[in-house]
Symmetry: C2
Subunit: 117 residues, 2 copies
DNA sequence: TGTAGTGTGTAGTATATACTACACACATGA
DNA sequence: TCATGTGTGTAGTATATACTACACACTACA
């Protein structure tokens, strides 16, 4: 049950096939952690790293930071801060959307974005 | 800058004026922590407690759990789990709503709730 | 005057989080 | 054959989180 590590390793190996800059050591250097640490994370011997490291990793691998954070069981501090400013409002909205299908939520996102509000 | 503790103490003292069940010791017992710990939290000598304790405290004081968690700089695990299931969708929605006024978000909540979706 | 209740002070503990430092074994090409 | 690069194993560290246990001083009232 090592979703995060497995996912990262798979993505990295894919990229490594065509670009030597994606060896474990190179990636570790790019995101500023020890190679052994990244190795352990990929193999699930260590839990996922902290938010900053995950976001750096996402950028390095061309992944969506929020999605990668989610795989690590986290939600970005930036989003949490937004929620904490109006906790009741956002709590209700999120709970109400819990069981809505993706397309409904997406429609909502678009309407908000289009500014009919 | 002890928002959480100050707020809790104020609420508790208000309630204590008309009901002796809201002494520090009684409340501590009700939420299952040591009195000295609650005392320190109220005075800001200790950071806010964990989620479970905050929710128990909110119930005891008749406060909104999400609001009290927010004062403690937290967001409930329950909401986080919902977000983590569809991280990209929720991330976008939350960021888009960041600068919307309350009434706009509220209108959205109501529309969702009324099930025009 | 003692006992019941109030809040507080002191001194810890267990567990989790987020890593570092360095040595090791294997492969590959020059 | 040896320098370079690959991933991994071992053994730690610093800091934060979330508390407990118990003694102490003060107040009120019976």
């Amino acid at each position: 049950m090592n979703v995060f590590g497995d996912y990262v390793r798979q993505r990295r190996l894919e990229l490594q096939e065509t670009d030597a800059a994606f060896s474990l050591r190179k990636v570790a250097a790019a995101i500023d952690v020890e190679p052994s640490y990244l190795s352990k994370i990929e193999r699930g011997e260590q839990p996922p790293p902290g938010e900053k490291t995950i976001i750096a990793l996402a950028k390095e691998l061309g992944e969506d930071p929020d999605a990668l954070l989610a795989l690590a069981g986290k939600v970005s501090e930036e989003l949490l801060a937004i929620i904490r400013k109006r906790p009741k409002l956002f709590a209700q909205l999120i709970r109400d959307l819990k069981n809505m299908p993706d397309h409904a939520v997406l429609r909502l996102v678009r309407e908000v974005r289009d500014g009919n509000w």
